[in-house]
Amino acid sequence: MNNVKIPAWPFHLLAWFCPPALYEGIEGDLIQQFECDVEEAGEKIARRRLFLNTLRFFRPEIIFRNKFSTQLIDTVMFTNYLIIAYRNVLKNKTFSAINIIGLSIGLASCLLIFQFVSFELSYDKFNDKFERTYRITNDRFQNGKLIQHGTIMYPTIGGTMHKDYEEIEEHTRLMPGGEMNVKINDKLFRGDVCHFVDEHFLSVFSFPLLAGQRATALKDRYSVVLTEKVAKKYFEVNDGDYASLIGKTIYWGLDPQPYTVTGICGDVPANSHIQFNVLVSYATLIRPDNTGADDSWQWSDMRHYLVLKPGVDYKKLESKFPAFSERYFKGDKVSGSVEKFYLQPLREAHLYSDYEYDIAKKASGKAVWAMLVVAIFILFIAWVNYINLTTSRALERAKEVGLRKVMGALKSQLIKQFIFESMLLSVIAFLIALLLAQLLQTSFNQLVGTELSLWKVIGEADAFTIAVLCTVLIAGILLSGFYPAFVLSSYQPVTVLKGRFIRSSSGNLMRKALVVFQFTASVALITSTLIVSKQIKFMNETDLGIDLGQILVVRNPERTPYDSTFISRVESFKDRLTQLDGVTSAATSGPLPGRRLGRTFDIRLKDGAGTEHYTMSQFQCDYDFFDTYKIPLLAGRKFLASDHNVNWDKINTVVVNRNATALLGFERPQDIVGRQMTFWGRDWNVVGVVGDFHQESLRSPMEPLFFIPAYGRNATSIRLSTNDYQQLIPAIESAFKEFFPDNIFEYFFIEDRYKQQYSDEDRFAKVVNIFTVLAIIVSCLGLIGLSSYAAVQRTKEIGIRKVLGASVANILSMLSLDFVKLVAVAIVLSIPIAYYFMQNWLATYAYKIALSWTVFILPIVLILSITIVTVSSQIIKVALSNPSRSLRHE
């Protein structure tokens, strides 16, 4: 028998699926069986039986044994735990409600913020080459100073780099085309944003193409790719038959050449940093008689994207760019400024861009991470509160614990019971949180201005994110259950049941630390709210140096050609407007207040001492502009009607602002009047100087500007003297239709448009407000727990004090003082924190409020009064109670 060799491989198989704890017993039995079989039926059959016997152990009862442990919940006592948990929730309805609701609020806000954060972090990830795609960015220096930090540059950059550096796999260039003005048959459409992009665009970016050829759709001149939404609007297709649209033509603006539809792409995902409605082939820009859009080293409106070959370190490539600049720009000889080029990874385009002339849909990366921190904070506070409230109520459970121990319960069983109980509450809170998040979703979406959905986020999240989330959730639930469980289960039955029960002070210390932590957060948030709202108020109320009130803007008549009669037509329109009742004046201008202006880089002073070049922003307007916007004249004169000319080459007057005067080295405004400036290849007479005004929001400094008396694609600004728009606007519309037939009439108020620059701030303020309220609520919940606990614990002490003559007021102040001390510590901690963060936030503004100590007073007063009210409301019951009741059992 002993000389028969037992085959080893069935046991390898067994070891693979069998839990280690069972392995030895089973293996031994199998061997024994094999040995019997060998004696009984011979080796061959025994081997077969061994194999079959082993295989029969491959069954769920064996494989999964000990994989799911039922040991966490003591199955015998489980029913009892459920009943007790249920009774406990019902016994103290207010307390349970506070506890569960506190946790739900925390979880719900966490869920919402998590959606927001993961959406913000998902930008551009739909692109297949996401990891390898980079934007080229360009800094320009003049006289050693940074004059432009932008994403725009010359049309040649991407292509030349591609030619020079083999690390580059692909490049594409883009120029924003603004809003389109489209005519199809007799219908006019306005307002669809388009970009000029070359044929590589759809290969670098993975926008889904519903019809057309990805590689060639944007190759030929006058080709357009429409998004699904625009295609439906233009051609009224409802059946999704987009292929039939290929080859259809549209007319853009005054261009007599039809544009051919060569592709339909799906609507641009909300999480793309490039947003558009229509793509136009880049080749359209390259005219046979002027190929500057293709080969100029001066034209400067193009954005470039590169795809690098796999494994290329973009920093290494970037380090070769100074040589590139020197090779093609030779210092500032070619473009008038020293050019530096950098690469920005596509993953940073949305969150980490501070570029001028940026087409990216932007958000602040810092703010997004701050939101995530806040979410974790809230969740942490909520859990802490839960711990706090549960342990503070432990007295009520003490007798239960004592009795259970007397009846033979082990400490481990009690821990299990309480962890189970808090898990149950957590699960209920989580379900309520899900419900809350669903209910608040719409309002939250409005607040953040994006279409978010929890299910979508979860559906799109990768396994890692989900694993992290689940771990956080489960760890939080277990940890928040563990501490109360540990505290509760450690009671000694003898002390508890005797009724002489005093709690350790170490638990108190922890609870106090938690309260300090919560209130630090609350005070810091209140202070931030205050500072943010002050800054917003300041921005809205600052004298801009320009009067934007009651100015209605009519958008430019794009379909009226600029010809010799254009100026007189505009002037007649303005005359007609000023004749209307309620219109004070009217003016036309290219740019409008609230928009980033274009820049001119090679300005010199004629007969100037040095040869330095200067950079200023440019502004085209007519002679009524300064009066209409009430911009003060400092020296010289404003534009006259005679400064205008239909022939562009004959315009030679310029007005500058105060900053431009200073830039060119003149101290007094009147000194520059009469001098000549040289730019755009000719000389300009400076006829006047106007005051500085805030062209952009108060985030940006006021720049040096020059004004050119020009008509063109100008919008008309109309100063009104009445609030009765009902009658006036139709009158303005009919005047517009009369002088500019075949155009769409669109208007808005400039003040609204200007204030849109602050939508980010408004949103930020709202979010901070909400968090502040949440933090206060949650902190107060914690305080309620702690103070009611303290009051109950000190009932007898209070009774004795009252007997000895203490008044209710005495007792109240004595007990509240403990908490006021905690809050005072929190205040001291929070002020530097709030100061630091708010100073950082304010640093992003060129014009801002000063942080004085007064902004810290209100939060302190507020939080102290909240504390006193909350604490007193809990203590007063005990303070008012008759001492004979609390003392009679002693």
């Binding site: 017993g25 061997i31 024994q32 019997c36 016997n53 029969r56 152990f57 044994r65 459920l82």
Partner: protein, 119 residues
Amino acid sequence: MLYISLTIYIQMSKEYLGEFEELVLTMVGILQNDAYGNAIVTEIKERVGRTVNLSAVHVTLYRLEDKGYVKSHMGGATNARGGRRKRIFTVTNAGLAMLRAMKEARMDLWKLIPQLKFG
């Protein structure tokens, strides 16, 4: 809902003992300190004349252990079985009570059957 269904589940699993479970439990009781997989298979074959599979016995033993009717420990090493230790099962008080209760229940039922007389 959750509460009720969980309660029902627990009560069901606690009370019920299947026919094979009862058989194995009885054998553990009979074999005293030498109840392990092979021994039980052999014992069932000898006493009841029923061939049972080793893995089925194992699974049943583990299930009985979960229910608290038997407990197990690893026996000392022997030279047989390739030196592998045996997992020895013993009946717990709860198991004994269960067996007794089942026997009595069966006896009570047996008494209710009209006594048949054979010829």
